[in-house]
């Protein structure tokens, strides 16, 4: 009978973390930003059907980087959790904090269980509040820790560099067009600092818009609305925060409900 080699717990955990991080790094990064009227999710995604962002509940959105089948599983688990909780109690009792805790426990248990391989995912759970101060953004790395974020957050392989870029430039009260422009700029920068162009059709954009009259605040931004926003964001940037362009960008985003 062979005796298994002894591996120290530290080493085992470090190996698992490295495995998960490498998996996550293979996918593209995505960013989540607060803007004046809510929270915007921006990522590069060549697929129209397989989403990185989705609605969990009335005010709660979900974003994920990493392995699709694993985060899709977590996403559906989250929808089930939220719907069951809302059905059992009340719609107001479903919160991003509660959901983030459940995700953290789930990821943490999987990460430290020797029987399972660690999930190669990094999640963001965001809830839009009545005002920007009440917005909540939680980042959930692969190991089950929770990070409470403000302003902007990036997840995925290139997250650290993008975060740094966003931290310097993001400010409170940006319009949607400005936030979108900043997000795209951050995502277009490669690790070595060179910039590349991300065409609009490769962008996946969604918002949690607190001004939406519907109870469900999640909305995908696609097609014409997305290109108009990108244009007005660029125009606003060129005129260095020309206030008229900002106002126009806002009416654009407001009037184009599906």
């Amino acid at each position: 009978m062979s005796t298994p080699f002894y591996v120290s717990p530290q080493q085992a955990m470090a190996d698992r973390a490295e495995y998960a991080r490498k998996g996550i790094a293979r996918g593209r990064s995505l960013v989540v930003l607060q803007y004046a009227d809510g929270i915007v999710f921006v990522g590069e995604n060549p697929s129209r059907a397989l989403h990185k962002f989705s609605e969990i509940y009335d005010r709660i959105g979900f974003a994920a980087a990493g392995k699709y089948n694993e985060y899709e599983n977590l996403r559906i688990g989250g929808v089930r959790y939220a719907d069951l909780r809302g059905y059992t109690y009340d719609r107001d009792d479903v919160t991003a904090r509660g959901l983030a805790n459940v995700y953290a426990q789930t990821l943490g248990t999987i990460f430290s269980s020797q029987a399972e391989k660690p999930y190669e995912v990094e999640l963001v759970v965001a809830e839009v509040g009545d005002s920007p101060e009440n917005d909540q953004i939680y980042r959930l790395p692969h190991d089950g820790s929770i990070v409470d974020e403000h302003g902007s957050v990036a997840v995925g392989g290139n997250a650290e560099q993008i975060s740094g870029y966003l931290d310097q430039r993001h400010r409170d009260g940006m319009t949607l067009a400005e936030a979108l422009k900043l997000a795209v700029q951050a995502l277009s920068r490669d690790t070595n600092g060179t910039e590349r162009e991300i065409p609009a059709e490769r962008l996946e954009v969604a918002v949690l818009d607190r001004t939406r009259p519907q109870q469900r605040k999640f909305k995908r931004i696609v097609g014409g609305q997305l290109s108009r926003l990108l244009e007005s964001g660029a125009a606003a940037g060129a005129a260095s925060a020309d206030s008229e362009a900002e106002a126009e960008a806002e009416t654009d985003s407001g009037s184009d409900e599906e």
Binding site: N73, V79, D83, T88, V102, G108
Partner: protein
């Protein structure tokens, strides 16, 4: 589930098991006891007394469909509630109006709304209108045990069929039998009278405004002859709930709009108590 989630902290295995996009199927496997259809009812002598909702009417017009209901709930010969809401949005493009045992019906609507929303979130696409109508059928069927004891729920489902570009109405019986109605439909205790009124007033080329007036006329006639249906309550400012579903989605008429419609119908009835006259030939 809740206790379970709290004790271990992580999502139970059932939550992460790939499977159906239906919330009811998920509940059925994970926590069957909270599904209304699985509730055990003790043997009861006679009929259980509970508030009942009464009349719901629906009419199609080119471009959409109108669904409306009166506001009265009755328990035996008593008025249980004067301002009950019996018409609800099911999702962006459909609505459901309920007659029958109010408590069970409202619960059924809540679960139905959730069922549609859950599917939409999981699949990233909406069910077809036909699919929604069938889902409601299943839910009524699961209530058959209660219906046999007098706790029936008989909804009317109306929606805008995005694929076909028109409004459609589905009616149900207590066993879950579903039938698509042409032009107009009614359900509930005052339905026979409302139906008569709609039959005489319906035309193929109604505008949205005419269609909303038509449903108020029909509800007025139902309230006129059925004691369980409430007419517009001018003193308390309680007016019928009127909803319109078109290509632009679900819209419930505001209090002012409903008051104005009910007001003009009431005014005309002061002159002509039986309402508009149809030609004999």
């Amino acid at each position: 589930m809740e206790a379970n989630t709290r004790s271990t902290g992580r999502l139970p295995a059932a939550f992460l098991t790939p499977g159906s996009s239906s919330f009811m199927d998920f509940l059925g496997e994970h926590q069957p006891e909270i599904l209304p259809g699985n509730r055990q009812l003790p043997p009861v002598q006679g009929v259980i007394e509970a508030p009942h909702g009464t009349t719901i009417v629906a009419v199609t017009f080119p471009g959409g469909v109108v669904l409306a209901g009166d506001r009265r709930a009755t328990m035996g010969n008593m008025i249980a509630q004067r301002d009950i809401e019996k018409v609800f949005p099911a999702d962006e493009y459909s609505a459901v109006g309920i007659a029958g045992t109010a408590g069970l019906a409202v619960e059924m609507v809540k679960l139905f709304q959730l069922e549609l929303e859950h599917f939409e979130k999981v699949e990233g696409a909406q069910l077809s209108l036909e699919g929604k109508a069938n889902r409601l059928s299943t839910m009524i069927r699961s209530n058959l045990g209660m219906a046999m004891q007098g706790l029936a729920v008989v909804p009317l489902f109306a929606g805008y069929d995005v694929d076909r570009g028109r409004g459609r109405i589905f009616s149900y019986d207590v066993t879950g039998g579903r039938s698509e109605e042409r032009n107009y439909a009614t359900t509930g205790s005052g339905s026979v009278f409302a139906r008569g009124a709609m039959k005489k007033l319906f035309r193929d080329d109604l505008t949205e405004e005419q269609a909303t007036t038509l449903v108020v006329q029909a509800l007025y006639d139902a309230a006129d002859d059925d004691s369980a249906t409430g007419g517009p309550d001018v003193a308390r400012r309680i007016y019928p709930i009127i909803t319109v579903i078109t290509e632009d989605g679900f819209r419930r008429l505001g209090e002012d709009e409903a008051a104005e419609l009910a007001g003009s119908v009431l005014q005309a009835r002061l002159e002509q108590p039986d309402g508009p006259r149809a030609a004999l030939l």
